[in-house]
């Protein structure tokens, strides 16, 4: 079955009231819903509320799903809309266009101080990166995953959403642009900056942990 046919079948099953269809959808997307909501709504209880509201909004809008995008992309768009409405109800909501201006600015990927600024080796590393410990065992992988979660939690909202959608959820650049209403160029810059910051954050925290 094609992706679109499978999505339309899921929607039909939901409209018939099939609990199994809803349960498998929740199992598949609840963690992603929560991650996306937490990018806009930091308070855990409020993020839970947003997720629940997003499920209700999704069900209530099911009749408008036509399969033009994947069901996953469509659902993620609803979560982000609900989360942003939640913020709007409580404080001034910064428009996406303003966030793009703030967060997709040019700037170096790695601090310039880490490269020679003059001499024969200008532009080459003066303070090169140390390799991350290889995440061989499950415990170390778990620790690194936890650190990356924290690193991503520190990113500005739009950079975080782009990295969540592209790198965590595995959406394409086009799908991410559609959900957030941003251009491909901005999506690439935001992703570039988000990954660079996450890498730098991990590097800093891992080297601090080693020194202790």
């Amino acid at each position: 079955m094609s992706r679109t046919a499978a999505d339309l079948e899921t929607v039909a099953a939901l409209r018939r009231g099939e609990h199994a269809a809803f349960t498998s959808l929740v199992r598949a997307y609840q963690p992603a819903f929560l991650r996306l909501a937490q990018g806009w709504v930091r308070d855990a209880a409020a993020a839970d509320e947003v997720v629940q509201q997003a499920w209700l909004s999704s069900l209530e809008s099911l009749s408008t799903f036509e399969g033009r995008s994947s069901l996953r992309t469509w659902l993620f768009g609803i979560v982000i809309n609900v989360a942003r409405s939640h913020v709007r109800a409580r404080k001034r909501l910064v428009p996406i266009s303003e966030l793009v201006t703030e967060e997709a600015t040019d700037g170096p990927t790695v601090e310039p101080e880490r490269f020679f600024s003059e001499g024969e080796w200008v532009g080459h590393w003066s303070d090169g990166p140390s390799p991350f410990q290889s995440p061989d065992d499950a415990l170390e992988r778990q620790r690194l995953r936890g650190l990356l979660s924290r690193a991503m939690g520190d990113l500005p909202p739009l950079q975080q959403q782009v990295m969540l959608l592209c790198d965590v959820e595995g959406l394409t650049g086009d799908e991410t642009c559609n959900i957030l209403g941003i251009s491909g160029t901005h999506q690439r810059v935001l992703l570039h900056r988000a990954r660079a910051k996450a890498r730098a954050w991990l590097e800093q925290h891992l080297s601090e942990a080693e020194r202790r």
């Binding site: 409209r15 009231g17 609990h19 809803f22 349960t23 929740v26 199992r27 598949a28 609840q30 963690p31 992603a32 991650r35 629940q52 499920w55 209700l56 069900l59 209530e60 170096p108 990927t109 790695v110 310039p112 490269f115 200008v122 532009g123 080459h124 590393w125 090169g128 990166p129 140390s130 390799p131 991350f132 995440p135 992988r141 690194l144 995953r145 990356l148 979660s149 991503m152 990295m163 790198d167 965590v168 959820e169 595995g170 690439r188 992703l191 570039h192 990954r195 660079a196 996450a198 890498r199 991990l202 590097e203």
Partner: protein, 86 residues
């Protein structure tokens, strides 16, 4: 004889890492990138770090979801279905 790729600085390479990983570099840029990596351990480390970040990010998306669905979500579904038009 093939032409020698343009020399890249480390500072330039780090700006191209995502385009490299996303296969969006031109053949010429890619050749310069690969040639630089062959002689530059710190840039190789940088690239490996970025690959680790991406692998970890992807694994965050594979969270175990075998837990039961919260009862309030099932209630929500039931209520929605009962009042939705047939």
């Amino acid at each position: 004889m093939s032409e020698r790729p343009v020399d890249l600085l480390c500072q330039q390479l780090v700006e191209l890492v995502n385009e490299y990983l996303g296969h969006r570099l031109t053949a010429e840029q890619r050749a310069a990138f690969d040639a630089h990596l062959e002689t530059c351990p710190p840039c190789t480390t940088y690239l490996e770090q970025m690959k680790t970040v991406l692998a970890l990010a992807r694994s965050l998306g594979h969270t175990d979801t075998s837990d039961g669905v919260e009862p309030q979500l099932l209630d929500l579904f039931q209520r929605w279905h009962e009042k939705s038009p047939r």
